[in-house]
C-alpha cells in the first residue's frame, strides 16, 4: 500500500452512488499516482517522498473531489436509468418476446377445446358464423346442436340434411341389433317428408324412406342353398350367397317401393354432410401457421360420415325381391326391380362426395349385378344372364385395376414429412405435393429449437437473477454485488461471435451447401436435424455464456475487483479432449449421412419410424450433456473460493441483462424470420399440397369409379325416359 487508498477513497467518495464508476475512477487515479510516483523515484526521491509528492501533484483533494462529482453527475444519472432498465425491464421484456413468439406460433385459430369439448374458434368470426360452426352453445348433444342450426335457418337444405344425417347417426331409431324401432318409424317418416319438401330434387329422402319402410315390413337373409362365385383373384373361394326376402307387410312394402319409384327420376342425391363440412371450412380464415392448418385437418377428420347401411340393405332387399318375382314368373316386374336396384346404386355412387359412399355403392352395385344374372337365369334368359355376368366381371376387374394403383405412403416416404407420412390417405393414385407442408414443418422445427435456446437463456437469467436478489437482500454496503456494464464494443463482439456468426454459418451450411437436406422430410432426417440444432443452439448458448463471462471478468479486472486466475489449457485438457471427440463424432456422422453410409434406409420400418436416426439422436443428447457440464464448470470452479466471492456475485448479477438482451435480439430477429418462412410455406399449401378429406374421392383413383357409376346412371336414366 502506498497510502493512497485513503486519498483515492476521499476523492471518489461523492461517486459512491455508482459503485462501478467509482471503482473505475479510483483505478484511474491509482494508475496516475503510480506513474507519477515512479517518476519522482527516478528523480532520486525515496518511496515515501515519491508517494507524498505524487499525491501533492494531484492537487487539492477537496477541490478535485468536487470537480470529479460535477464532471460525472450527468453520466451517473444516465447510467442509473440504464441500470434500472437493465435490471427491471430487460428480463420481463425477454419473457414478453417469448410469449409473443409462442402466441404467434399458435396461429389465428385458438388452441384446444372449450369446456364442452368443442372446438374454440377464431375470435373475429361473427355470431352467425359461430352458430353455423358449433350450433347453439347451450345445446348439449351433437344432434341438438345440428337441430338448433336448422331451426334458425329452416329453409336451408344443407343444414337440414346435416340434421337428418346426425339423427340417423345418433342411433335413437334403432334397437341394439340395429333393427328399426317400429314405434319411431312415423317420427322418422315425418322427418324425411320435411326434408323432401325442403329439398325436392334430392332423392336421398325417398331412398331413406324406401329403405326404412321395406326394412320394417320384411326380413332379408342369405340363402345358403344358393351360392354364387366370383372370378376375381382375391375373391376366389369366397363363399357368397344370394339374398332371399320374406315380406311380412305387403302394403307397407309397396309404400317403400313407391318411395323408391319417386326417388329414381330425381336428378340429385346427397346427404349434405360433406356440404356442411365444406360450408364450415369456408367460414374459417385462411390458415397462416401450420397449427391453423392442422386445426382445419382435425375439423375435416371430424366430418360426419353418412350412414350407408340403409342404402346397402335397400339394394339387397330389392335384389332379393327381384329373384322372388322371377321365381314367381313375373318376368317384367323382376327385370324392372333388378334394374331399379342397379339404378339406385349407380345414382348414389355417381353422386357420392365421400369415399365410403362410393365404395358402398360400388359393392352394392356388384351384388345387384350378381343377382341380376340369377334373375335372368330363373326366367330362362340365357343371353341376358350371360350379359349380366359379363357386366359383373367387367365391373369387378375395373375396381381391381383402380385398387392396384400406387399409394402415396409407399411412393416417397423420405420426402413426405411427419404429417404426410402419418396422415396421407392410403388411396390408390392419390396425388400429393409434399413440399409446402414439409417446408412448414421444418420451419416449425427451427422455431422449436429457437424456443429451446430462448428458454435456456431465460431460465439461466431467472436463476441468476434470483441468486443476485437473495445476495442483495442479505448484504449491505460495499459488500453488495455490482451490475457491471461491459461496454458496447464488447457487447457487439459477443453478439457477433456468439449469435451472428453461428447463425450465418448454419445458413451457409443449410442453404449454400444444402447440407441440411431440406428436400427430405423430418420423418427421415429427424436424428440429423436434431443433432444439427443441438450443435447450433448448444453452440450459441455455450459461446454466449463463455464470452459474456469473459467480458465481465475483463471489466472486473479493469475496475480492480479480485478475479480468479484464468484456466490454462493444461487445466482443462480433459474437457477440451472430450469436446473434440464429440465434435469429431458429430462431423463424421453428418458427413456420413450426407455421403451415404449413415443415411437411414429409404424404405421399410426404419425409414418410416425414424429408427435409422438413432445415432443422430444419441449424439444430440451427448452434445447437450457436454455443454451442460461446460456451463456448470463456467459458473462454478474457482469462483467459489472466498477471495472471489464479490466477483462471483457481480458476475451472476451482470449476466442477467446480457442473457435477457440476447433473448430479445435473437427472439425478435430469428423468431420473426422463421415465422415469415412458415407463413410463406403455408401460403403454398393449396391444391395438391393441401389435404381434402371431405373430397378425397376427387384426389384418388376412385373418382374414376364415381364417374363410371355416374355414366352408368345416365345411361339407365336415358333408357328409362
Amino acid at each position: 500500500m502506498n497510502g493512497w487508498e485513503e486519498l483515492v477513497a476521499q476523492l471518489t467518495d461523492r461517486l459512491r452512488v455508482d459503485p462501478e464508476l467509482r471503482m473505475d475512477v479510483a483505478q484511474e487515479l491509482r494508475a496516475h499516482l503510480e506513474d507519477s510516483a515512479a517518476e519522482f523515484r527516478q528523480a532520486g526521491q525515496s518511496d515515501e517522498e515519491a508517494s507524498a509528492s505524487a499525491a501533492r501533484a494531484l492537487g487539492d483533494p477537496q477541490e478535485l473531489s468536487e470537480q470529479l462529482w460535477q464532471a460525472n453527475r450527468r453520466r451517473i444519472r444516465i447510467r442509473g436509468v440504464c441500470r434500472w432498465a437493465a435490471q427491471v425491464a430487460l428480463l420481463p421484456a425477454a419473457i414478453l418476446v417469448i410469449a409473443a413468439l409462442v402466441l404467434g406460433a399458435r396461429g389465428g385459430y385458438s388452441l384446444g377445446l372449450d369446456p364442452h369439448g368443442r372446438f374454440s374458434w377464431p375470435s373475429d368470426l361473427s355470431e352467425e358464423q359461430r352458430f353455423v360452426l358449433q350450433g347453439d352453445p347451450a345445446a348439449s348433444t351433437p344432434l341438438e346442436r345440428a337441430r338448433s342450426i336448422t331451426d334458425r335457418w329452416p329453409d336451408n337444405p344443407v343444414y337440414y340434411g346435416n340434421y337428418v344425417a346426425q339423427a340417423l347417426a345418433s342411433g335413437d331409431f334403432y334397437d341394439s341389433q340395429r333393427h328399426i324401432r317400429p314405434q319411431r318409424l312415423g317420427e322418422m317418416m315425418a322427418l324425411l317428408d320435411k326434408g323432401e319438401r325442403i329439398d325436392p330434387k334430392n332423392a336421398v329422402y325417398n331412398f331413406q324412406k324406401a329403405s326404412w319402410l321395406i326394412q320394417a315390413s320384411s326380413t332379408i337373409s342369405e340363402d345358403t342353398s344358393r351360392p354364387w362365385t366370383q372370378t376375381a383373384p382375391q375373391c376366389q373361394g369366397c363363399a357368397r350367397h344370394y339374398w332371399k326376402i320374406e315380406i311380412r307387410d305387403r302394403e307397407q312394402f309397396q309404400r317403400g317401393l313407391a318411395e323408391l319409384g319417386r326417388g329414381l327420376p330425381k336428378p340429385e342425391w346427397t346427404c349434405h354432410t360433406v356440404d356442411m363440412m365444406q360450408a364450415r371450412l369456408d367460414l374459417l380464415p385462411q390458415p397462416r401457421r401450420l397449427n391453423d392448418w392442422l386445426r382445419r385437418v382435425v375439423l375435416q377428420v371430424s366430418v360426419l360420415l353418412p350412414s350407408t347401411s340403409d342404402s346397402r340393405v335397400l339394394a339387397r332387399s330389392l335384389s332379393a325381391y327381384a329373384i322372388q318375382l322371377a321365381e314367381a314368373g313375373r318376368a317384367a316386374e323382376a327385370v324392372d326391380m333388378a334394374r331399379s336396384a342397379a339404378q339406385m346404386d349407380a345414382k348414389v355412387g355417381g353422386r357420392a362426395q365421400s369415399l365410403i359412399e362410393v365404395l358402398t355403392a360400388e359393392f352394392a352395385y356388384l351384388e345387384v349385378l350378381a343377382h341380376a344374372e340369377q334373375v335372368h337365369k330363373q326366367l330362362g334368359q340365357a343371353e341376358e344372364a350371360r350379359k349380366a355376368r359379363s357386366a359383373f366381371e367387367e365391373e369387378l376387374a375395373f375396381y381391381d385395376g383402380l385398387s392396384k394403383g400406387p399409394r402415396p405412403s409407399q411412393r416417397d416416404v423420405p420426402h413426405a414429412g411427419m404429417f404426410w407420412m402419418a396422415l396421407a390417405p392410403g388411396l390408390p393414385g392419390y396425388q400429393i405435393d409434399f413440399e409446402p407442408v414439409r417446408s412448414a414443418e421444418q420451419f416449425v422445427a427451427a422455431e422449436v429449437a429457437l424456443f429451446a435456446l430462448l428458454w435456456c437463456l431465460v431460465i439461466n437469467a431467472l436463476l441468476l437473477g434470483l441468486l443476485s436478489l437473495l445476495s442483495l437482500i442479505r448484504r449491505r454496503g460495499a459488500d453488495r454485488s455490482m451490475l457491471l456494464f461491459v461496454g458496447w464494443r464488447r457487447l457487439g463482439s459477443i453478439c457477433l461471435l456468439a449469435i451472428v456468426l453461428p447463425l450465418a454459418g448454419y445458413a451457409f451450411y443449410a442453404h449454400v451447401l444444402t447440407a441440411a437436406d431440406r428436400a427430405y422430410g423430418l420423418n427421415y432426417t429427424a436424428g440429423k436435424t436434431l443433432l444439427e440444432y443441438a450443435v447450433l443452439i448448444g453452440g450459441i448458448f455455450f459461446l454466449l455464456v463463455r464470452l459474456s463471462c469473459s467480458a465481465i471478468r475483463r471489466r472486473a479486472e479493469e475496475i480492480g475487483l479480485a478475479v480468479p486466475p484464468r484456466l490454462r489449457l493444461r487445466d482443462r485438457r480433459w474437457i477440451v479432449a472430450l469436446g473434440a471427440l464429440i465434435a469429431l463424432a458429430a462431423v463424421v456422422y453428418l458427413a456420413g449421412w450426407r455421403l451415404g453410409p449413415f443415411k437411414p434406409p429409404r424404405e421399410g420400418p426404419h425409414a418410416t419410424h425414424g429408427i435409422g436416426s438413432l445415432p443422430g439422436l444419441a449424439l444430440a443428447g451427448l452434445v447437450v450433456l457436454y455443454l451442460l457440464i461446460c456451463e456448470v464448470r463456467e459458473y462454478a470452479g474457482p469462483l467459489f473460493r472466498k477471495p472471489f466471492a464479490a466477483f462471483r456475485r457481480t458476475l451472476y448479477r451482470s449476466l442477467v441483462p446480457i442473457f435477457a438482451a440476447s433473448v430479445i435480439v435473437v427472439g425478435a430477429a430469428c423468431g420473426w424470420g422463421l415465422a415469415w418462412g412458415e407463413r410463406s410455406a403455408m401460403r403454398r399449401v393449396k391444391g395438391m399440397a393441401d389435404i381434402n378429406i371431405v373430397n378425397e374421392v376427387e384426389r384418388s383413383n376412385y373418382r374414376l369409379l364415381r364417374d363410371r357409376l355416374a355414366a352408368r346412371h345416365e345411361v339407365m336414366m336415358s333408357q328409362g325416359r
Binding site: L11, D24, V25, Q27, E28, L29, A31, H32, E34, D35, S36, A38, E39, A57, L58, G59, D60, L64, Q67, L68, Q70, A71, N72, R74, R75, G487, R489, E557, E558
Partner: protein, 115 residues
C-alpha cells in the same frame, strides 16, 4: 512567466482534444506532454485533467478504454486510454477556429495590429 488561472482553465478543452488528435493517450501522459511542450509554463494541476476528461467523455467528445501498459514501461499494469471521437474532432476544429479569431482580435487591440 505564469499564466492566469482563467486563461489556463479556458484552454484545457481544446488542448486535450488537440493532444488526442493523433493517437490515444492516458491521463498522466497528457499532463507530462503539456508540461514538457510548454516548459512548465501552463502549470497544469495534474488532478484537474481528469474531471475535464470525464466531462468530455460524458459529452461524447472522447471515448475511453482500458488496455495493458507497455511491458517495458509498467509491466502487468492497466491504463485508461482516451481517444478523440468524430464529434470531438468537429468540436476541436470549431474551437481552433474560434481561438484563431479570438487571438487575432485580442492581438489587434493589445498590440495595435489590424482587425
Amino acid at each position: 512567466m505564469d499564466f492566469s488561472q482563467d486563461l489556463i482553465r479556458g484552454s484545457v478543452v481544446p488542448i486535450v482534444l488537440a493532444l488526442l488528435r493523433n493517437r490515444p493517450m492516458y491521463g498522466y501522459e497528457m499532463v507530462k506532454l503539456v508540461n514538457a511542450r510548454t516548459k512548465g509554463r501552463l502549470e497544469w494541476k495534474e488532478g484537474t485533467l481528469y474531471p475535464t476528461l470525464h466531462r468530455l467523455q460524458s459529452l461524447g467528445l472522447v471515448s475511453a478504454r482500458w488496455a495493458d501498459a507497455p511491458a517495458d514501461e509498467a509491466p502487468g499494469r492497466k491504463r485508461k486510454y482516451y481517444s478523440i471521437t468524430r464529434k470531438g474532432r468537429t468540436e476541436l476544429a470549431r474551437r481552433t477556429q474560434e481561438w484563431s479569431q479570438f487571438s487575432l482580435s485580442v492581438n489587434a487591440l493589445l498590440l495595435g495590429g489590424r482587425l
